[in-house]
């Protein structure tokens, strides 16, 4: 394993230290337990937004702390949900008196740890609503799984819910917007290589030089099936089609098209994927009204990409366009 790290046990803390030092105008860190919050603390009267989860998905979530998005982010160990005693103080710190929305990706660990944390925060008189994101169409949502995973679509939920909180919606309102985004966003990913969790030092799975994993999550877990490497256009279609179909996209609808890099794929390749995904949407009569291309929800140094589509309506478009000022997303 080759990484620019010191002791793997210190990786998360040292990375957070560097992150808040580089962006000290936007974020600050609390240690022991560790979480990242907006400089200046909770905004009086605004609904607070908190997310968190295992590390290794940077810039998710700390990179999205700042005006117009999150108020706090809680990083667990790499690919491991943070603990309730880490999450609860972040929930409390994000409360400006109007309550807090917890945005949780749908993994057993994240859900369970946030559940307990919410109980702890409520015991300190913080009103908390929780929205669970589950946009990954690679997982069939049925009796036979833990339910769809929350992946890149989480960024859309965080951005738009952040804008709703900023314009003054109350907790129920912000939660309703977040739920609506989650209901209208779908993703699907591909891995060209595995990634290596620093503490284990071994690749998360073994993938022959001529094969790719379709339907991967963001924790270096293997996907649903393997195929021989294909041209980007063909792979993109394998990602876009299930997304479009699961959303029941109709001709004339407006969408956000978001091509997300898994961490180790150069942006030139992401734009090749974007190009084809857009063509396929346009062939369906769908209008790509907004775009996002880059590494936003990653799996360490994994090579690969995911395609996310969010169905827009006028309100969601306006909220997407609203100003955001975070380390990783800014306009």
């Amino acid at each position: 394993m080759k990484k620019l790290l010191n002791d793997p046990a210190d990786a998360v803390v040292e990375s957070v230290e560097g992150f808040v030092a580089a962006h000290s105008d936007i974020v600050e860190a609390h240690y022991d337990p560790i979480y990242v919050s907006r400089v200046g603390g909770a905004v009086e009267g605004k609904v607070g937004l908190v997310s968190g989860g295992g590390s290794g998905h940077e810039p998710l979530h700390a990179g999205f702390v700042g005006q117009g998005m999150l108020d706090a982010a809680v990083p667990g160990p790499v690919f491991t949900s943070p603990t309730p005693d880490q999450i609860a103080p972040a929930l409390v710190a994000a409360n400006g008196g109007a309550g807090v929305l917890a945005i949780v990706k749908n993994y057993t660990g994240d859900v369970l740890n946030f559940e307990t944390a919410v109980e702890l925060a409520e015991a300190e008189d913080v009103e908390v609503a929780t929205v669970i994101t589950n946009d990954d169409v690679a997982v069939q949502d049925s009796l036979y799984t833990a339910g769809r995973r929350g992946v890149a679509g989480t960024v859309c939920v965080e951005k738009i819910a952040g804008a709703a909180a900023d314009r003054g919606d109350d907790l129920a309102g912000v939660a309703a917007v977040a739920t609506r985004v989650n209901a209208n966003v779908r993703s699907m990913g591909v891995a060209l290589t595995a990634c290596t969790v620093p503490a284990s030092g071994k690749p998360s799975f073994d993938l022959p030089e001529d094969e790719v994993e379709i339907g991967i999550g963001i924790h270096g877990e293997p996907g649903r099936h393997r195929i021989k490497l294909e041209p980007a256009d063909a792979i993109t279609q394998r990602l876009l089609d299930p997304v479009a179909e699961d959303l029941h996209l109709a001709s004339g609808e407006n969408v956000l098209l978001f091509v997300n890099g898994m961490g180790g794929t150069p942006s030139s390749e992401l734009y090749v994927v974007y190009r084809q995904a857009r063509k396929l949407l346009e062939a369906r009569g769908v209008v790509v009204a907004r775009s996002l291309v880059g590494n936003y929800v990653t799996s360490l140094e994994m090579q690969g990409a995911s395609v996310t589509v969010l169905r827009f309506d006028d309100e969601l478009t306006t909220l997407w366009d609203a100003p955001v000022h975070t380390a990783a997303l800014r306009w």
Binding site: F79, T80, T83, P84, A146, V197, A199, S204
Partner: protein, 213 residues
């Protein structure tokens, strides 16, 4: 033999030793069908438990004190799915371990409490390829052993053996809970890491009840 607070402490320390010794194996199992952190997670948790035990100003008075310390420490250090699940398991176990010493029936109650805790949080039933598939047969075996008049040690030994068999029995199962469920059919053929750590934890309880040499 009855299981007293000294036994409980030995159990926990032996668990920490065993988890550390099997850290790589647990992680490797999790790498196959999960995200490759289970060994790391459990080891972080039990290392913290031992540190907390060592730092106690005076030794714990009751079995339930030990189990409660394990519960809160795992809850606040393990994270992932295993943290809340084992945390709740030990918390419920602590609640029913309200006697200075546990006899065979007492051990059954502790194990039942643990299973109840895992299922209350995780909603998994037998056959879903989770730690429940080690813990549930362990409870059944414990009940049988207690019904047959077994003492704490005999009951624990029966439970541990069943847990081990249960863990191995997860290999052919299709996962429908936890991360492994995302793999669908591909989860078949691998042993569940959580069931494996459950078997290790129970086996450690047997070692702890062995007469000192």
């Amino acid at each position: 033999m009855a299981a007293d607070v000294a036994w409980a402490e030995r159990w926990v320390r032996e668990t920490a030793r065993s988890i550390a010794a099997n850290k790589e194996e647990l992680t490797e199992l999790d790498r196959q069908i999960g995200d490759g952190d289970h060994g790391e997670n459990m080891n972080r948790g039990f290392t913290a438990v031992v540190a907390k035990l060592d730092a106690l100003p005076e030794p714990p008075a009751h079995v339930s004190d030990v189990l409660k310390l394990v519960a809160t420490t795992l809850m606040s250090t393990v994270g992932g799915a295993a943290g809340p699940l084992y945390g709740t398991a030990f918390l419920r176990a602590a609640k029913v371990a309200d006697l200075p010493e546990l006899d065979g029936r007492g051990v059954v109650a502790v194990l039942e409490g643990a299973l109840e805790g895992v299922q209350a949080r995780g909603k998994a039933t037998v056959g879903e390829k989770t730690m429940v598939d080690a813990l549930s047969p362990a409870v059944q075996a414990a009940v049988q052993a207690a019904d047959g008049g077994g003492d704490a040690r005999a009951v624990f030994a029966a439970a541990a053996e069943a847990a081990q068999k249960g863990a191995e029995g997860t290999i052919p199962l299709l996962a429908t809970k936890g991360r492994a469920s995302y793999l669908g059919e591909r989860s078949i053929g691998h042993q569940d890491p959580g069931a494996t750590s459950t078997a290790l934890i129970l086996a450690a309880g047997v070692v702890a009840s062995e007469p000192e040499p």
